[in-house]
């Protein structure tokens, strides 16, 4: 992320790298929330939680390294803003991609609507 967001060209390496980071961050955040709310005595969540925190910290580390090489001052608010922005981008992308999933479901619904009941010997036994 050597360029700021307003300087990013679509299809540039930075932009595509940002896409990979957003995808990873989305999964890591989702996993972290899932592991925390489903915590129970039969779980061993320490390794996945550490993994999630590590992935979430990757963009923060890149941001910190970038700010060290530039003259801009860094504060916690900027780091949180970056995280929220990336996460928001991930959520937006995820929701925007759901029509693709719905397309697949619609095709399945078409099949179900026009498909007749299969001849199942087990079901026939149940009827008998």
């Amino acid at each position: 992320m050597s360029a700021t967001f307003d300087q990013l060209d679509i299809l540039s390496v930075d932009f595509l790298f940002l896409g990979i980071i957003v995808g990873g961050l989305l999964v890591a955040y989702w996993s972290l929330i899932h592991l925390i709310v489903t915590l129970n005595p039969y779980h061993r969540p320490m390794m996945p939680i550490l993994m999630s925190l590590l992935i979430i910290s990757i963009p923060v580390l890149i941001f910190i390294i970038e700010s060290l090489s530039s003259s801009s001052e860094l504060n916690l608010g900027m780091v949180l803003e970056l995280l929220f922005m990336l996460l928001g981008l991930g959520v937006f992308t995820l929701i925007a991609a759901t029509p693709l999933l719905f397309l697949f479901i619609t095709i399945q619904m078409l099949k179900i609507t026009f498909e007749s009941k299969p001849d199942d010997p087990l079901m026939a036994m149940l009827d008998d």
Partner: protein
Amino acid sequence: MIGWGVQAIFGWTLLLAALSIQRMGPAFERSRFSLPIAAFGLAMMIFLPETKQYFEGGSGVCQYHYCDNDIRNIFLDFILESVVWMTLAILGVMLILNSSNLYEKSKPVTSILGWVLVISAWYVISQMRVIDYLITNPDNLIWLLFVVIGVLFTLFLYYFIIRSAERNTPRENKVNPLDERERKLVTEIIRRNLGGEQL
């Protein structure tokens, strides 16, 4: 007052938490808290606070390509439209599944109603500004592809981490076999369930 972006992310977090809680426990007894938590999360994503105006200072400034208020309006429209089409889609799919003849007798009226809802959902999708923008700019598909690569790569890492954590879990000692009383109890439960006798 917190910013609308932070509130939306918190709402999303609550939705994820509700989904995870809902999947906990046996199928016949899911958590009763998941639905209110999900509703609260969704409300947090919809009822967003207003942004500060430029003369109030703070977060109302214009940065990147848009002003904060523009992004908020685009996000709000997008979420509202998404909620509408997802609701129509879920209801439509449920009706189509209920009316299919795979499990029971076919119910044509219910099926037609389900298809009306599914087609309505597609109509709402076709009218969404964001979706129109995504379709008319094929570059966005490349962005989506790289997000998917990020998702798959991270899931792959999780697979290895979870597998190693599972392998390092100490094995529990073997349990003793059932005694006579327990064996009778299990046999009776199976016999009643399979035999269909009234308890």
